[in-house]
């Protein structure tokens, strides 16, 4: 089996994996980091979103072996000790979740949005940019508010 080495949340990891192993499976099964969720089979829900070399990707549609040497950031890598990342704090503050299944993907996707679009995000833009993330509970309203607030809180951070 191919050996793959990558850096996940700042820590070097390596494992032998089957070539077909998806990055999401590698994170969840091999590294036992289950914060990255898998909600669909069709690359549509975005629950599995992580950052690969700084860019938001659906980790259910990336081969782990293709991430040789890469930097991966997952939801587990955001908080500093007990202090939540401003985007996480904003989701809590604004009730941006109900069951929480979509939340890791929503937050990783929101951070990619900030990277691409900056800190001042109007509601229309957030809704448009959130097309790759599906939530079955909230109706999105509070997710949108949380992302706007989190993005502007990050400006000061």
């Amino acid at each position: 089996m191919p050996l793959v080495t990558m850096t996940v949340n700042g820590t070097a990891v390596s494992a032998e994996v089957e070539a077909r192993t998806l990055l999401a499976e590698f994170l969840r099964n091999d590294l036992e980091m289950t914060g990255t969720h898998v909600g669909c089979d069709t690359t549509q829900c975005g629950c599995c979103t992580v950052h690969l070399d700084g860019v938001g990707v659906k980790s259910c549609t990336v081969l782990a072996v293709a991430c040789q040497g890469a930097q991966v950031l997952t939801i587990e890598g955001l908080a500093t000790g007990d202090a939540l990342h401003p985007m996480q704090a904003a989701f809590r503050e604004h009730h941006g979740l109900q069951c929480g299944f979509c939340t890791p993907g929503m937050i990783m996707s929101a951070l990619d949005m900030v990277r691409r679009k900056g800190h001042d995000l109007d509601e229309r833009l957030v809704r448009h940019e959130l097309e790759g993330n599906i939530c079955r509970c909230t109706g999105y309203h509070n997710i949108v508010k949380a992302i706007q607030a989190g993005a502007s809180a990050m400006k000061g951070a």
């Binding site: 998806l22 089979d41 690359t43 990707v57 549609t61 081969l63 072996v65 293709a66 097309e131 790759g132």
Partner: protein, 273 residues
Amino acid sequence: MYDFQYLRPATVDEASRVLATQPDARPMSGGMSLLPATKQRLSHWSAIVDLGGVAGLDEIRMEHGALVIGARARHVSVLSSSVVRAAIPALAELAEGIGDPLVRNRGTIGGSVANADPAADYPAALLGLGATVVTNHREIAADDLFTGLFETALEAGEIITAVRFPVPKRAAYAKYRHPASRYAVVGAFVAETAEGVRVAVTGAASHVFRVPAFETALSKSLSQDALVGVTPAYGDLNADLFASSEYRAHVIGEMVRRAVQACLHPSTPSRNA
């Protein structure tokens, strides 16, 4: 997914050699169509040949007055490229309407073209603009490339390296997209070129096609008035739970009209939100 061998060659030649000797091997670019399809276990690959290790395939540049986009240029690179925006803004706008931001961060033009999904967006731009597909073996006119449902004129071991677009006088793409899948229920690309107006339609049949009746009418006058009374006869249009063939025929006319409007007034939105 069935397991396969993973290969990451450093050159196109090396990739092509593997693909030529292993009929069940497939090249992978962004993986945004290949991996979802492979997950459905509809196909079994001996090897996936990742083109991600080949340097230089993602360049976007002007060459002898034409816009050349490397096969591995991601949708996000095309939509944000100042070179593309200056030469063919309609192409950047088309890329901006593909899937969602996370799909656009990975998916590439070469993969989209090779995949030839009947509802994909790029094929409409290639056919509408009269682009040329450059492979490791030859050049193929877009008119000769798309041959059927997920079928192209590409041969085994043939790898797209770039797409070359002549710069039109004006062009626009209008898409009626499926709200869940985001693919085109119907998309129309209209371009005013040196040889006249070209109209290409995606989403409506087994593969992208041109509409000569609209082209003739619009070549006389690129205006919405020129479309009045023009009712093209289509071959077999798709019918599915989203849209009947009669409805698609109607939406083609409407998308062409919107694309014409957007050619004349580039600030009009041509996408449904």
